[in-house]
């Protein structure tokens, strides 16, 4: 029993920091993120015997995290008025209307300079937190935690085309939110020129 516990601590605890960070982006509030992360570890510990040695502990923990979050989330989905954001077609929307790059294309300093110098970490975190859950999860799994589309699809139990579409639309929406933040903060004006 002690050996089992030590093995679990050795294998699963090194990921606690990043599981908490991802839980925080998914749940958005610290208290909820702590509840979510602790539920992940409780579930992992209870089903540790099912974990196959030699497979990836990190991916296993993320699978549990995603399932746990979705289960709470699906309960919310059942509330009246909930509408899925997924489009019937798997092919992503290719319209460039809300791309931050296009909005800033004629601005000076250049879009990449603006991105590097004007957006703080907290601006980016706030933008991620503003995304609808479906898009936020795809961004957290693929952009923040660098999982492949296939891994994210397995974790969210959705087709890979849906991951692709959610990620595409999530990134576009994120850029729109960053743009609005920049306009509100007076970094650029609504015409795309630096203020």
């Amino acid at each position: 029993m002690i050996l089992r516990r030590e093995r679990f601590q050795k294998e699963a605890f090194p990921f606690m920091e990043e599981i908490y960070a991802s839980a925080l982006r998914m749940a958005r509030q610290k208290e909820n993120a702590e509840d979510l992360a602790s539920e992940v570890y409780a579930r992992a510990w209870k089903s540790y015997d099912q974990f196959e040695p030699g497979t990836h502990m990190r991916a296993w923990l993320y699978k549990i995290l995603t399932n746990t979050f979705i289960n709470h989330y699906r309960q919310k989905q059942r509330q009246p008025g909930w509408v899925s954001l997924d489009k019937p077609e798997g092919d992503p929307d290719t319209s460039d209307g809300s791309s931050l790059y296009d909005r800033l294309a004629d601005a000076s300093p250049r879009p990449d300079e603006l991105l590097a110098n004007r957006f703080l970490d907290r601006d980016l975190r706030r933008a991620i937190d503003s995304l609808p859950e479906e898009f936020r999860m795809a961004v957290v799994l693929c952009d923040v935690q660098s999982f492949s589309y296939q891994e994210a699809a397995d974790m969210m139990e959705i087709p890979i085309g849906t991951v692709r579409s959610r990620l595409f639309r999530g990134r576009r929406l994120l850029q729109k939110i960053l743009w609005e933040q920049a306009v509100t903060a007076g970094v650029v004006n609504a015409a795309g020129r630096p203020s």
Binding site: A21, Y41, D112, A116, F119, L124, R125, R164
Partner: protein, 74 residues
């Protein structure tokens, strides 16, 4: 490969999700097209910043203790 096609696949290329042939095609286009090159660099930079912005959360001690206590409970 034209700009429209390149922009449609830019995220998949960035994420390494394209097959070898498509990936090589888009790479050739990006290397020859200033607009698509700038756009690709911008998306790459934004992806890096998103990752960086979310990796600085410190796990509270209370959570660590709570999780350790869970191991005794179950």
């Amino acid at each position: 490969m034209n700009c429209k096609e390149s922009l449609r696949k830019i995220y998949e290329f960035l994420d390494g999700d394209l097959e070898k042939v498509s990936s090589a095609e888009i790479e050739v286009h990006i290397n020859c097209c200033r607009h698509c090159w700038d756009r690709f660099e911008f998306e790459k930079q934004l992806k890096t910043l998103i990752k960086k912005s979310c990796c600085k959360e410190i796990c509270p001690d209370t959570l660590r203790k709570r999780i350790e206590a869970l191991l005794d409970k179950y």
